[in-house]
Symmetry: C2
Amino acid sequence: MARPRQFDEDRVITAAMDTFWRHGYEGTSTRDLCDSTGLGPSSLYNTFGGKRELYLRALERYYETVTADQIALLNEPGSAKERLRAMMLHSLDSDLDDTEGRRGCFAMNAAAEAAALDPDVKRAVRRCFDRVEDELCAVVGAGQSAGEIASGRDARTLARQVQSTYYGLRVLSRVQDDRKALLATVDSTLADL
Amino acid sequence: MARPRQFDEDRVITAAMDTFWRHGYEGTSTRDLCDSTGLGPSSLYNTFGGKRELYLRALERYYETVTADQIALLNEPGSAKERLRAMMLHSLDSDLDDTEGRRGCFAMNAAAEAAALDPDVKRAVRRCFDRVEDELCAVVGAGQSAGEIASGRDARTLARQVQSTYYGLRVLSRVQDDRKALLATVDSTLADL
DNA sequence: GTTGTTTTGGAGCGATTGCTTCATAACGAG
DNA sequence: CTCGTTATGAAGCAATCGCTCCAAAACAAC
């Protein structure tokens, strides 16, 4: 019926996510996006609508891939605290990896840069955060059932404490290179549970 | 000897800080800066050198004013936990204040946007974070001496835990409007000390 | 007043911004 | 094959980017 597309939409969104992740929304130009995706501007605009729409798609993709990986780590075999530690360690090592360009957490970057201005960005970021919170809650609950974590306090509250510490550490990791110090905070937090 | 300046350098830097704070580095144009400071481009460039230098000056100013206010709150009269709570509450209410534009923490925004790329930005942000950490450590130590906080653990480690939770909450506050939930995490964290 | 020095406002530099236009290409349907 | 439809690449739109240049202006020193 018509000419088919020469590109894989998924790969394009992934490439765009990577570019937005590294340089932020304002720091990424449409030409940067054309270069990283391999698409010409007409294909890019014809398919996605514009820079903002592609940014939102990139945030969705982040949820589907990176956030999903965090959830997966929380569901590996092991005790509750081991699983919490595995997720936090994985993110911290990713944050400190110079070969990856110290790009941090895309959702957190988007929260800092654009969540205040754009309700759609806010919603997309919140989706990532809420998903992590829910899964942390489940892990904490499992730990409580197993007698590994004290049952006195509300699982949701404990999960939010862990989540806050986790995101706070990722903020600190942007300017703090001392892996041991960050790790000590992780272990100290887990010991409190 | 020569024509004197028609503007107050401090006021200009404060105005620039406010603009960068609200819109980020990439989101702020030199014309935005001219508008908010009242300076013409020639005066702005003659005095400060360029956009990047002014951004660094704005981060310095943030340290001198907002970070200093946080430190001051930690040194108000009251118990250690009361002082920790006062600082966190103040920031959270500032983060949630719609009339201020939900601009968050300038240092954290800079960390997310530019710390990975610019070593000078990284240094300026870290200065803010380290100052808070040091003061949190002092407050925790005082709490331990007063018997208010358990003396078993290292004050520095506890301070870092509080700091991480604090920054994590400020991340969450960008997309989470539920003040009560955020507050519950504060109180739960303080109860653990 | 004149001179010397610095600041100021405005025009505008080349480059880049997000995006559009359009002729052409590449297919499926008939 | 022809036709209808969509995708593509290249050129380029007006607007804005960070920044510079320069003549006029405003002072202090003399």
